[in-house]
């Protein structure tokens, strides 16, 4: 793939990720449990990690979080998405790079979801300074594993589709 193609794919995916983030904020997940979220937008950096490499994945994730933060929410919610999203994408890129234990997209996606959750827990700890909030984070972490499996499956098929596409042109 040449650079123009890479740039075009990242631009389309950034726009897609922002649209998914905003669309997802209208889904009433609170009916399941307050704070639970599928995190569909995280399919995008996960896909890019495989298709274009870690730098593209991390930059697209950063742009998505900043733009979504400007469009919705306040400073506190921005910090939540920022620390959660960046920690998960950066650490996933590092885990994918090591060759000791090899995970598939689904495994990596689960790791990403749990890191997302853990980073947000530490952000909550700094913002609220109250350790008792741990109980709720443990419940959310179970949902994070489920969400990680689901987004991992979506990412797996997206990666396949893009690889087929880039071979055909």
């Amino acid at each position: 793939m040449n650079n123009t193609k890479k740039l075009t794919i990242s631009a389309i995916f950034t726009a897609l990720a922002i649209a998914i983030s905003i669309a997802e904020s209208y889904i009433p997940y609170s009916a399941i449990a307050p704070g639970v979220k599928l995190g569909l937008a995280n399919v995008i950096p996960m896909t890019l990690l495989y298709v274009l490499g870690p730098l593209y994945a991390i930059s697209v994730q950063a742009v998505r979080i900043i733009v979504t933060g400007l469009l919705r929410g306040n400073l506190v919610t921005f910090f939540f998405s920022f620390f959660g999203g960046m920690a998960s994408t950066v650490l996933c890129a590092l885990i994918k790079k090591q060759k000791i234990i090899e995970f598939s997209v689904i495994g990596l996606s689960v790791i990403g979801a749990v890191i997302h959750n853990t980073a947000q827990f530490f952000t909550a700890l700094v913002i609220l300074k109250n350790i008792n909030i741990l109980w709720y984070i443990a419940i959310l972490a179970i949902f994070a594993v489920i969400a990680g499996v689901l987004t991992g499956i979506i990412a797996k098929y997206t990666i396949k589709a893009i690889e087929r596409y880039s071979r055909s042109i």
């Binding site: 609170s30 995970f103 598939s104 495994g107 609220l128 109250n130 008792n132 109980w135 179970i142 594993v145």
Partner: protein
Amino acid sequence: MKKADVLLISILICIFLILIGIFLFSDSENGDILVIQQNQKVIYKDSIHKDSEIYIMDASGNVINIVTVKNGTAYMSFADCANKDCIHMGELTTGSKKQISCLPNRVLIYLVSKNSNVDGITK
């Protein structure tokens, strides 16, 4: 899915179930004093059996949350944020270990027992 994936998912679920288990079976204090914390400071502390409505305001005086205390239960009855998670978190009754939090507004409400030192937790 690879073997490593299955192993990872099972280990993670076990860890979190154990954490929830530890939490559920840990010693419970019979907390019946409602504490409201905003920006890491305790702004309200009174018995949960005393009915009242507490208006929580931001720095410029706008009401951002309303906590209602009624018939021994406390719940968030209003929030100005978008997702209203804190309203969906239900109510606190005597002995509840859960906390209701409104993260965008940095508001947290929970129960403590008579002899516990609130400042020790929130400092």
